[in-house]
């Protein structure tokens, strides 16, 4: 099975303190560390496991700048066979539709049976997977937490529904799935793994290579435009506890006790 996994380089939420810059145009980016979007990591692990079971290959693709190459290498160290970097000045500022259109170009250049994305990105809006499926006119399932390969034409995909129950759906290939965390346990990638793939050539493709419709990409064509970032004012009943960890915990316990939350 030929599998394409779309990945994204994002500021690592567990290793950064995300703060908004003074103008409200963006978060403060100096001193940030980046990693692979967590959901994407699960998608790649799932793709590798499927490939190991039924054969085929796994390609990871990302839309980004030169720095984005590091996440492709990390996923290749995990076990993906190929990486493709989609990079073009024209891509900058694209909204979700634009990114989906760029990836569509890569999908059409290949011969993929299965396209996986993360259910969402730490810094995203969770829209690329669905849009990509629509543009490709492929079946789409979101928040997938289980994939059973039936044959080379069909898969069964599971989703968790309320109450911890599981839903199973039959889908024909090719299709697009957005993957939920918890579908597997992604393997660890150490420095050694990354060094092993450090010299593997990663092809870079631009708008012309992909045949992307210039009318949908770039900041100018974005239909969703970001206006502002700000910290919402505390609403009624909301309170920010301040002080050291112990202090905060003590205050919280007092509050829970006084409001009858705990005895």
């Amino acid at each position: 099975m030929e599998i394409l996994v779309c990945v994204k380089r994002v500021p690592d939420t567990s290793e950064n303190e995300i703060e908004i810059n003074s103008s409200g145009s963006d978060i403060q980016r100096d001193d940030l560390v980046y990693s692979v979007n967590e959901w994407d990591n699960y998608a790649v692990e799932e793709a590798i496991q499927i490939r190991d079971n039924v054969g085929g290959s796994v390609t990871v693709v990302t839309v980004g700048d030169d720095d984005a190459e590091e996440v492709l290498r990390r996923e290749m160290a995990m076990g993906a066979d190929k990486g493709v970097l989609l990079k073009d000045d024209a891509f900058e500022g694209s909204d979700g539709r634009g990114v989906a259109a760029i990836i569509k170009g890569e999908v059409e250049k290949g011969n993929y049976d299965l396209i996986l994305t993360g259910a969402q990105a730490d810094d995203g809006a969770g829209q690329v997977g669905g849009m990509l499926a629509a543009m490709l006119d492929m079946p789409f399932a979101s928040l997938v937490n289980r994939i059973d390969v039936v044959d080379d034409k069909k898969i069964n995909v599971g989703r968790e529904i309320a109450g911890g129950n599981q839903e199973m759906n039959e889908m024909s290939l090719p299709c697009v799935l957005s993957i939920q965390t918890g579908i597997n346990e992604p393997r660890y990638v150490g420095i050694r793994g990354i060094r092993k793939v450090a010299s593997v050539e990663i092809p870079v493709k631009g708008a012309a290579d992909l045949g992307v419709d210039a009318a949908v990409i770039g900041a100018a064509n974005a239909r969703v435009k970001r206006l502002d970032y700000f910290v919402p004012p505390a609403g009624e009943g909301a309170e920010m506890l301040e002080g050291g960890v112990d202090e905060i915990i003590e205050k919280l316990i007092d509050m829970l006790k006084s409001k009858g939350g705990i005895k």
Binding site: E15, D31, R187, G190
Partner: protein
């Protein structure tokens, strides 16, 4: 002078002289033994290299102390004394056994120098030795069969019970002793009956007893017992020799070699592969131990040398709290694997993965590398290096628990397992200054100083543990030391990173720290973190001398640079009973048992008690560094068990000298419901509380 009874060499069976059998039995026995040993050595030939041929003096000293001197044995009193009796007896009787083999051919043979007086002395000695071994074996069999000490039990998941094998071997030894004594006693009785002069048998020995019992026996019976005694001994001796390499009694042969080739450096970790330098690590195709043949030959010798005594597991804190790890079975399972895959007959089977085979992932992650097992093992089997090697193998396969992946990724990106920003590493220094404490120099701001205080991650970032950092700074300042910290240039020391098998990440951290330390120009390093202390001393190369704060404090107090006063009033130590918990990486791995106790005892009026498990038998708190993130399968927390031990000793304050011990023990106090009854404090915090600054 001809003896009254015909010696075994001259008796005939169906016309064949006894000497024929006396030659045949040893020849067949030795041939078979050689064959078995060749099979046993086969996996060791395929094994990874291990450089253990250096430091001959240290190694001979170890053999004299640990093997010949049986130094570790009395740590378990009854079993230890029994073993020393049997071991000493074996050493003495080995000469007799050698001469007996030759006597089967040449009846008048004496070992060189054993013909006259020394021979008489030796005969008395060996008769007492045989009797001593006999008594020891009888008691040992009684213990095995009736008393059944808990540590010998084999939990179901680890296979079948080993009592049968133990008792069978004790039986073999007794057979040897009885047959030899019979052979000797019958000769004496025969000579007495024939009116020939005899050598007096030592009273109250087995031979002496048989002499009394047989004094009225007829010549025929005596002759029969004499010949039978000899050949039963001969057969049993060579059977025993060939039986040794088939089970736990292999240690009789291997232990001397195992001790000679023992790990000599406490706290250190073996290189990924001996003979491959750090800059060539990238060229290695595989890391660590994935299959049996990835173990080094010495580690295989360890497996062969395990006597199944259960002391390691009896001391193992992981085993004590119900984690799926029992060091004894790390050895026994691997030994059984070796026997099964390198059989005496049939083809060898190699290359099966160990994880998922004989070991489970949780089993290998359960070890805190506290070293209690290695401290206890009478034959110096090592475990930490094997755990690290097995983890290196798992890390190389991407097989790392999810709970550890985040902190490892954070260490790679931020140099600390919490994922906190580098620039916040020295924030505690600002807090200290705000509290009216001393100004601490920070090298990344361009300061320089004689002494570098290596803080490490937990002390830099953990709210509670920052207090240890502040106290360390106060103590250093009070003693007039010119010191500073690396600040954002400092990375995690990597002690646990290395011991969790992430060698390449460790190498990066080490290189960054080494460079920063050299850049700082500091002449000496002091740290309050035993894990940093250990790795800077053992894993880093060429650094300025490293000292733990307890060493520094002990010296500063002795020199009068720090003066201590008694605590006044409740809450300040009055009426409190203190106990000192030895951190594994300070005690067992670096032998610092006395300095912290000297510091405690220098506090006027301080009352201190010892826990039963202290010093080299200290009970691990649960582990440091990445262990704070690992989620083990366990019934209870080690920290909680440790707190209960302190309560049992009658202590109301647990003093430790390691940030991780403090974290785990404070947690243990909470989970055991001892809040208000017991408190925990770091040594340097306690010193600060008692510092007499006015003088």
């Amino acid at each position: 002078m001809e003896p009254a009874l015909i010696p075994p060499a001259h008796v005939t069976f169906l016309g064949i002289p006894g000497a024929f059998f006396s030659v045949l039995i040893p020849v067949v026995g030795v041939a078979l033994f050689t064959y078995i040993m060749a099979k046993r050595l086969a996996p060791m030939v395929l094994a990874a290299p291990d450089f253990r041929f250096d430091r001959v003096k240290d190694r001979v000293a170890a053999v004299i102390k640990l093997w010949l001197g049986q130094f570790k044995q009395p740590r378990y009193r009854t079993a230890g004394i029994l073993h020393i009796m049997i071991f000493a007896g074996f050493i003495i009787l080995s000469l007799r056994s050698i001469s007996l083999v030759i006597i089967g051919v040449s009846p008048d043979f004496h070992l060189p120098g054993m013909a006259g007086g020394p021979g008489h002395v030796y005969n008395i000695l060996k008769d007492y030795a045989a009797t001593m071994v006999f008594i020891a074996c009888a008691i040992a069999a009684y213990r095995r069969a009736i008393v059944k000490p808990a540590r010998y039990a084999v939990p179901e998941k680890y296979g079948h019970d080993h009592t049968g094998e133990a008792i069978f071997v004790l039986g073999l030894i007794c057979t040897l002793l009885i047959s030899e004594s019979l052979f000797e006693a019958t000769a004496v009785v025969g000579n007495i009956q024939a009116g020939l002069p005899v050598e007096a048998l030592a009273p109250l020995t087995l031979a002496w007893l048989f002499k009394l019992m047989l004094s009225g026996a007829g010549t025929g019976a005596l002759q029969g017992l004499h010949t039978a005694g000899y050949f039963v001994h001969d057969l049993t001796f060579f059977f025993f020799l060939c039986f040794l390499p088939l089970g736990k009694h292999f240690h009789v042969i291997t232990s001397i070699f195992n001790v000679y080739f023992m790990k000599l450096d406490r706290g250190a970790v073996k290189p990924v592969r001996h003979g491959v330098s750090e800059d060539k690590l990238d060229e290695l195709e595989s890391f660590g131990v994935k299959k049996f043949e990835d173990f080094t030959w010495k580690h295989m010798l360890d497996f062969y040398s395990c006597a199944d005594c259960g002391r390691c597991s009896d001391q193992c804190p992981a085993n004590a709290v119900g984690r799926p790890l029992s060091p004894r079975f790390i050895s026994i399972k691997a030994r059984d694997y070796a026997f099964g895959h390198y059989p005496l007959r049939g083809p060898f089977k190699s290359g099966e993965p160990l994880i998922g085979g004989i070991y489970t992932e949780d089993e290998i992650w359960s070890c805190t590398t506290c070293g209690a097992c290695e401290e206890e093992c009478p034959v110096t089997i090592e475990y930490i290096n094997k755990m690290v090697d097995l983890r290196r193998g798992m890390v190389d396969e991407g097989n790392v628990p999810q709970s550890l992946q985040k902190p490892l990724a954070a260490l790679e990106k931020r140099g600390n397992p919490y994922g906190k920003m580098e620039k916040k590493r020295a924030e505690w220094v600002k807090a200290l200054a705000k509290e009216g404490g001393p100004e601490v120099k920070v090298f990344d701001g361009g300061d320089t100083a004689e002494t570098l205080y290596f803080v490490d991650s937990v002390t830099s970032y953990d709210d509670r543990i920052q207090e240890i950092g502040k106290a360390t700074a106060r103590a250093l300042s009070a003693a007039g030391v010119d010191y500073g910290i690396l600040g954002s240039l400092e990375k995690d020391s990597g002690n646990e990173v290395r011991r969790f098998g992430e060698e390449m990440l460790f190498v990066e951290l080490k290189e960054q720290n080494t460079e920063a330390i050299f850049e700082s120009g500091a002449k000496r390093i002091v740290t309050a973190d035993p894990h940093a202390f250990n790795t800077l001393r053992k894993d880093y190369k060429g650094l300025p001398p490293v000292e733990h704060i307890s060493q520094f404090l002990s010296r500063a107090i002795a020199e009068g640079r720090i003066k201590l006063k008694a605590g006044e009033g409740e809450g300040n130590g009055e009426g409190a009973v203190y106990t000192y918990h030895d951190p594994c990486y300070l005690g067992r791995h670096n032998l610092l048992y006395d300095a912290p106790r000297q510091v405690l005892d220098a506090i006027p009026g301080l009352k201190r008690v010892e826990m039963t498990r202290c010093k080299d038998r200290s009970f691990c708190c649960g582990g440091g560094g990445l262990y704070l993130f690992y989620e083990p399968i366990e019934d209870r927390r080690m920290g909680q068990v440790r707190v209960e031990m302190a309560a049992e000793a009658g202590a109301s304050v647990i003093v430790t000298a390691c940030p991780f011990c403090l974290v785990n023990i404070e947690d243990g106090i909470k989970t055991s419901g001892m809040e208000g009854k017991i408190t925990a404090i770091d040594l340097v915090e306690l010193v600060c509380r008692h510092m007499d600054v006015a003088n």
